[in-house]
Symmetry: C2
Subunit: 398 residues, 2 copies
């Protein structure tokens, strides 16, 4: 049951984000030959004639409402557990407490496994199934593992998950409850990635690592389409987003570009802000140093498991988006995150994850730095539910 | 921004579920003078002329889409965190494993605080705010406390939560993160209820206990409207539901009655099945004994915190619905619940709560008892996310 009457379904090709080289989109492909992420491209000149914002009214309340700009062609492969179309909650009391005119919270905790990772893995697993992958694997600091396990189960594909042995107990039990094969190891997500690569090389696992296949970013980009649609077909002044691998920020930036090519918006963009923990802030350091890419962060440490990412293959894409948008990057202490989680709870009723707390805690910092003004209508991303981090909070939150 | 062009918004009156006596709906009222639950009634003869199933298309993706049959009149009091309109997931692999033609899972774990309790507390807190309550209080075995805390925070009303000291740590941290006042005590939810009543008597707290105010059931009834709408405006053959206080089962039964009065359906009803743990099964015992009400269950014990309810004020309403529908009641062992949680995870990608596992485990039992047939199109209610029970599972689920 497709909303598309014409025959332009799916991507037109894949493109290397570094060299611009193009490839056939209908084959399983990871990184480009240049070792860089691939983006799915669409025939937007055709699509723009058939797909307008007004067409979205009354569509299904999940990310598949944007199927014209998503790559999955076979309806049976459009796996769904109700991912996306999360509430964009107006938070007047929170705005008052933080001295802002208007704050919105995009509550990604309401995804099927309680985090924004569901968007990316929904698309990546759906597309892997469509293109014939038989076994999936993913290195994860936590939430991505839950999401991969859930969509693997939904699609009937076995999933191997490799995670650090300090992954929250909640997430471990969730992954096991979803029937995935879980390997816990001593190390960071980057070490887990090596194990997955070996499984890919020797056992034919399909590697779902962040940006090492082209489709997780396609799922994440729907956050950009949703913010635009939920604000009544316009963009906010600023978006504050916690970046580990950064797929969400990169994906939204890609979505804005697609919207402009479809004539939905002009050249305007929100200021894009990246938030990282002081214990692992490679992108913040690179932004401050003015470098094109980020250096590996030694001894990464933070209770925000999703931000314990010392090196990201998409670092240069994040830095591009932050700079082109006139945004910035800021690092937050774990204790400040926990405090902000409590403030968000009291003022909105949303029980945020530490990453969501980091984003809120960044508001005064960014104002102090002169990068964010009181009048900037700002969207804060709470990327997951606080339920997944219970017992990990560094300070007494009672 | 109301979808109602005419002036029949809200309830017409309150009615005692035992005596039929009626009362003004625009005042704060708990139990009836007879000490029984009150139901909100609507002018359905007028509403049926203005509200038809087809009107629902394209409405907001939360329970407020049914505002014509909800009691809150003031839009500013319609508190919302994105509750309801949860996915009704077709589960063919699960159906095959359990020898059923068709199984649907209504995944209430996707509510704002991860459980179906959000529906009831959304309505109860919205209505309490509208009618001028200043402080709220609730006894809870867990999830209802999270929901009350969330909507209290959303509405800016202080909430006092009284819970047993064996309440899951996850829920305790969530409630504290939402800024509510939490009192943990040695005892069952029935004991907690006594403390709340004292707070109501001496401190003017508004008591949100199950069915002791008329509006939680109004929120819960929306599950019945949603199943009807999501199945394409028809009802399933059977509904299997875990009953603690039983508001959900009672609410759906009320919804079906309203739908018939509005001419949406005829006299047909799904078979309604109540599932309880073997360690606390007062309704199952009463159904077996053929009594009109249930006796207090001594030494209640189960890891399904939401079903550790030894006495329910709505027992007679549950038993009526079960009997009038030609359904039944069955008790499930904790270990069988945990096993079924794993089966649901593997076959659907949904990480269920123990209560959801109980409902699935009831399928073979009810078939064995001859109450459910392989051909019955059945809706299973997973009333919450497994995330809220992590660490409580009685058997190894790895």
């Amino acid at each position: 049951m497709s909303a598309i009457p014409w025959k332009a379904r799916g991507a037109s090709h894949l493109e290397c984000t570094w060299t611009g080289e193009t490839f056939d989109s209908e084959q399983l492909m990871g990184l480009s030959p240049a070792g860089r992420p691939l983006f799915a491209r669409y025939d937007l000149d055709t699509i723009r004639r058939h797909f307008r914002p007004g067409d979205l009214e009354g569509r299904r309340p999940d990310l598949w409402r944007y199927e014209e700009v998503l790559p999955v062609r076979v309806p049976e492969c459009q796996l769904s557990l109700g991912e996306g179309w999360t509430p964009l909650t107006d938070a007047p009391r929170l705005a008052r407490r933080y001295g802002m005119r208007r704050l919105w919270v995009k509550n990604e905790g309401m995804n099927p496994t309680g985090s924004f990772k569901d968007r990316g893995l929904c698309l990546a697993v759906s597309r892997a199934k469509e293109l014939g992958a038989k076994e999936l694997a993913i290195p994860t600091a936590g939430n991505a593992g839950s999401a991969a396990a859930a969509y693997g189960a939904a699609g009937g594909l076995p999933v191997h998950i490799v995670a650090p042995n300090d992954t929250p107990a909640t997430i471990v039990e969730e992954i096991q409850g979803l029937g995935a094969d879980l390997v816990l190891m001593d190390g960071l997500i980057t070490d887990c990635g090596k194990v997955v690569r070996e499984g890919a090389d020797y056992m034919g696992w399909w590697d779902l690592s962040t940006l090492k296949e082209p489709y997780r970013v396609e799922g994440k980009k729907t956050m950009g389409y949703e913010v635009f649609e939920q604000l009544g077909f316009r963009l906010p002044d600023a978006v504050i987003y916690p970046t580990g691998g950064g797929t969400g920020l990169i994906g939204m930036w890609k979505a804005f570009d697609e919207m402009e090519r479809m004539g939905w918006i002009g050249s305007e963009r929100p200021k894009m802000f990246s938030v990282q923990p002081t214990g692992c802030a490679p992108v913040v350091r690179a932004w401050q140093d003015g470098t094109e890419a980020a250096r590996f962060w030694d001894d990464a440490e933070t209770y925000a498991a999703g931000l314990r990412v010392p090196a990201a293959v998409g670092d240069f894409l994040m830095l591009r988006a932050i700079r082109e948008s006139g945004g910035g990057a800021v690092a937050i202490e774990d204790a400040a995150m926990a405090e902000a989680v409590r403030a968000m709870g009291e003022c909105t009723g949303i029980f945020a994850c530490p990453e969501g707390g980091a984003v809120l805690a960044a508001v005064p910092e960014l104002k102090e730095m002169g990068l964010l003004s009181e009048d900037d209508e700002t969207v804060l991303f709470n990327t997951g539910s606080g339920l997944k981090y219970v017992g990990m909070t560094p300070v007494e939150s009672g």
